[in-house]
Amino acid sequence: MIDAFRLLQYACPLALAAIGETISQKAGLINIGLEGQMLTAAYVAMVATQDTGSPWAGLLAGVVAGVLIAILTAWFTVRRGIDQVVVGTAVNLGALGLTGTLFRSRFGESGRLLSIPGIPSFGGYAGLDAVTLGMVLSVVLATWLLTRTGWGLAARSVGEYPSAAEAAGFSVFRLRTQAAVIGGAFAGLSGAYLTLGVNQSFAEGMTSGRGFVAIAMVTFGRWKPAWVLAASLLVGYAESLQFALQLQRSDIPYQLFKALPYILALVVLVLAGKGGQAPRALGTAYRRER
C-alpha cells in the first residue's frame, strides 16, 4: 500500500503523543487535553516556521508550546487537585478556539493554502528524517527511563500509590509535574511534526482526534512504550488505508476508512477488558493528608 518509511512518517505524530502520554499516565495523570496540546503546537510550529523560514525553529516552538500547556494543566490538576477530565476538556476547547481565532485573524476566514518548508529527509527516503528516527529512539529512552532509572521507579510509585510514595519521601507534586512536562514536550513535538513533516501546512482542527486516539493507544499498548509504538503503527496503517483503498475500492464508502482507526481503538479496548496493568491511581487527584 505505502512504503515503510511513509508509514513511519504517517504514524509518527500519533506514536509520539502516545509515548509521552504513557509516561504521564505511569505517574497517574491522564491527559485529556493532549489533543489541544498537539493542535496548539501544530499552529505555533507553522507560524514559527513561516516567520523564521526554518522548520527546526518550528519544531522547537511546538515543543515549547506543548510544555507550557503541560505546566498550566499540571498547576490545575496536580497543584490544585482539580479533576483531570474537566481541565483537559477546557484545554481542548481553549486550544480549538485560540488556534482558530489566531489562524483566522492572520490568514482570513477560510485561510489560504499554506505551504511551509518541511523537515528534510535523509538520503532521499521520504519519511526517514530526524523526527521519525528520534521517535523510534525515544521508545528505547522512555522504556529505560520508566524501568531502569530511579526517577522512573519514583514516578511509577506515584502513579500506583501516591500516599505510600509520599511517605517514602518522594514529592507527588514534583514527580507528576515532571511527568506532565515530559508528556507535554512529546505532545508538542507530535503536533509540530504533524504540521512540518506530514502535512507541511496547517488547517483548523487539523489534529482531528489523533490526541484522543493516542490516549487509547496507551491502553492498547498496556503502558509499555514498545507496544504503544506497535499499536500506533497498526492504527496509522489502518488510517493510511483510506488513501490507498479509496481509489481501488470505490464501492466501500470512504467514511468507513476514516472511522476505522476509531473503531479499531474501541474494539481493542473492549477486547483488552478491565486493564489490570493500568496505574492504580490513574486519573485521581492526590491530596496530602494533614
Partner: protein, 341 residues
C-alpha cells in the same frame, strides 16, 4: 438562599470579566464589540430569537451532561449522541413521511432521536460497566464514529431523492416544530428544553432514583454499603444522558435545520460540557449558562466587522471561564495559605 444569589451574582460578574478580558487579549475594541454582541443577541426580536434558538441545543445537551456527570460517568460523547439522535430521527422521517400524517411523524422523529441517543450512550455505559473501558475514551471514539456515520448517511442511504447534494430530504413544514413568528426561527423546542430542565431538577433532587444517582456519583462506597446497584444506576444515568443529547439532535433537526448535512452539529454536544460545568451541574443553573453562551454565539456573529473569528472566540471564553471557575472553587475548598509544598 441569599448565599446562592450572591454566588450567582459573582458568577455573572466573572463571566462578563472573562468576556471583556478575551476581547482585550485579542486586541478588539471592548466598547463597540460589547455593543455589537448585545445588539446581535438581544437588540431586537431577531436577536432574542437567535439567542433562544442557539441556547436550546446547549441546554438540552447540557442537561444530558449533568445527569451523567452527577453519577460520575464522564460522558464526553454528547456530540456523538446528538448526531445519533438526529440520524435516527432522519431515518424515521424517510420511512414515516407520506405514510403517517406529518404531525405524527414529527412526534415519531423526536421519539426516535431520544432512543437513538440513548442507545449510543448506553453502548459506552455498558462497555464501562461490563468491560471496564473508560467512558471518557469510549465516548470520544464514539463521537468520531458517529461523525463519519453521518457523513456516510447523508451521501448514501439517507440522501435526498435527486442524489445531487450530500443532504437528507428537507422535511415538509407540517412535520417541523411549531414556530411563533414567521420572521424568526423561534420554535417550540425552546420550551421543551426549559420544561425538561425543570423535570431533570425534580428527578435529581426530589426523587429516590435521582438521590441514588447522586450518591453513586459522590461516594460509591456509601452507595454499595446501602445496597445500591451502582452499575445499574450508572448505566441508567448514561441512557438518560444520551436520551437528552439525542433529543437535542432531534429538536435541532425538526426545529431549525429540517435536513441533515455532514456539518449538522456545530459542536453542540462538545460545548455542552462547559455549559454544564459553569451551571455547577445543576439543571436550573444550566438554563442560565446555556442562555449566556447562546447569547454569545448569537452575538459573536455580529463581530465580523472587527474579526473573522466569531464562534472560535466564544470557545476561548468558555475554556477560560471553566478554568477560572474550577480554580476559584478549589480555592474556596482548600485555601492555599494552609498548604505546604
Amino acid at each position: 438562599m441569599r448565599a446562592a444569589v450572591a454566588q450567582g451574582a459573582l458568577v455573572v460578574f466573572g463571566l462578563v470579566a472573562v468576556l471583556v478580558g478575551t476581547l482585550l487579549a485579542f486586541g478588539l475594541p471592548v466598547g463597540p464589540s460589547l455593543e455589537l454582541i448585545g445588539q446581535g443577541a438581544f437588540g431586537d426580536k431577531f436577536g432574542i430569537a437567535r439567542t433562544a434558538v442557539k441556547a436550546t441545543p446547549l441546554l438540552l445537551t447540557g442537561l444530558g451532561i449533568v445527569v451523567a456527570w452527577r453519577a460520575r460517568m464522564y460522558n464526553i460523547g454528547g456530540e456523538g449522541q446528538f448526531l445519533a439522535g438526529a440520524l435516527t430521527g432522519a431515518t424515521i422521517a424517510k420511512f414515516a413521511l407520506g405514510v403517517a400524517p406529518a404531525a405524527l411523524a414529527n412526534v415519531a422523529i423526536l421519539a426516535g432521536s431520544v432512543v437513538g441517543g440513548a442507545l449510543w450512550a448506553t453502548l459506552a455505559g455498558w462497555l464501562s460497566v461490563r468491560r471496564g473501558v473508560d467512558v471518557v475514551i469510549s465516548t470520544i471514539l464514539l463521537n468520531f464514529i458517529a461523525i463519519e456515520g453521518l457523513s456516510w448517511a447523508v451521501s448514501g442511504p439517507l440522501q435526498e431523492k435527486k442524489r445531487q447534494l450530500p443532504l437528507t430530504e428537507a422535511l415538509p413544514d407540517a412535520a417541523m416544530l411549531q414556530r411563533f413568528d414567521p420572521q424568526t426561527d423561534l420554535h417550540s423546542g425552546v420550551f421543551i428544553a426549559v420544561v425538561l430542565a425543570i423535570a431533570v431538577y425534580v428527578f435529581l433532587f426530589r426523587t429516590r432514583v435521582g438521590f441514588r444517582l447522586r450518591v453513586v456519583g459522590e461516594n460509591e462506597r456509601v452507595a454499595r454499603v446501602n445496597g445500591m446497584d451502582a452499575d445499574r444506576i450508572r448505566l441508567g444515568a448514561m441512557a438518560l444522558s444520551g436520551a437528552l443529547c439525542g433529543l437535542a439532535g432531534g429538536v435541532e433537526y425538526v426545529g431549525i435545520a429540517g435536513q441533515l448535512s455532514a456539518k449538522f452539529s456545530q459542536n453542540w454536544g462538545f460545548l455542552a460540557i462547559p455549559v454544564a460545568l459553569l451551571g455547577a451541574l445543576h439543571p436550573l443553573a444550566v438554563i442560565g449558562s446555556a442562555a449566556y453562551f447562546g447569547a454569545l454565539f448569537a452575538g459573536s456573529e455580529n463581530l465580523a466587522r472587527f474579526t473573522p473569528a466569531g464562534s472560535t472566540l466564544v470557545y476561548v471564553i468558555q475554556a477560560v471561564a471553566v478554568l477560572a471557575y474550577v480554580a476559584l472553587r478549589s480555592w474556596k475548598a482548600r485555601p492555599p495559605a494552609g498548604e505546604s509544598e
